[in-house]
Subunit: 157 residues, 2 copies
């Protein structure tokens, strides 16, 4: 059970963009240099964040990315699922219905209790990440750390 390596990228990029002033944005190239990441692959991930409504893309010579919504309204779950999707890690292929032990249809109307417990665990994971917003992450940073982020990312503190 592995999340893509780019999960770390998007969590950090979104957190950095959350530190910019309103109206400010950062380009793919700026974000790639800031974290020393491959720009082409990062661009794909940023596009996924736009599609998920986490980031907004601005066009033009000073175009780039900014948060699409206030930091307090963007959860870590939204960022993670933007690049990995929302499908559950456990796949129930209904083996209870096959082989010598196959259960009759009438006993399979309810979800298998094992699939149910696995879904509960996935929901616990999702709830945990829903409980953390980008505003919560920013609250752990000092004003000077945020000013440094702005300066190094966009050249303006």
């Amino acid at each position: 059970m592995k999340l893509p390596v780019s999960t770390e990228w998007v969590l950090h990029c979104a957190s950095s963009l959350a530190q910019l002033d309103a109206g400010s944005s950062a380009s793919t190239a700026q974000l790639a240099e800031y974290y020393d990441l491959p720009a082409a692959y990062l661009a794909k991930q940023l596009k996924a964040l736009v599609k998920a409504g986490v980031l907004a893309a601005t066009t033009g010579p000073r175009g780039g990315f900014r948060l699409a919504r206030p930091a307090a309204e963007i959860t870590l779950l939204q960022i993670v699922e933007a690049v990995d999707g929302a499908s559950a890690p456990y796949e129930c292929r209904e083996i209870r219905r096959q082989g010598r032990g196959a259960l009759p249809d009438e006993e399979c109307r309810r979800t298998c209790v094992l699939a149910e417990k696995m879904a509960d665990a996935h929901q616990a994971w999702r709830d945990s990440l829903t409980g953390v917003t980008l505003a919560d992450i920013l609250a752990t940073l000092t004003p000077s750390a945020m000013a440094r982020t702005r300066l190094r990312l966009t050249g303006t503190a």
Copy 2:
């Protein structure tokens, strides 16, 4: 983020073995026929359950697998991690330390707050699966369903 397909197999096999009478066991061939699964690949998964202390292997002509411990002492987490390992899905490669935005060492003594929140979510998933034992699963089955399992799996009700 995907669990191996065999996760469903081991959850069901362990649940079925939990329904056998004390002293009784089922072979790889019996379990493979019961669920119509490929025996060679299933054997590998059952071996992983033995290694994890979930199942015990008995040898001899009537040899096979049985629970290594009481059903109330075997959690779904132990079964799932027996085949998928216990490593967390989120991998922190410390990108905060690289590129133009690289943080100084003294600011990286604590775990990155994003890695921390991802670890919290994984722990919530683990806690959820630790909270369910094979005894809980058996409690959802009727005595006649369990007698049928025994009959079809080992030929003795």
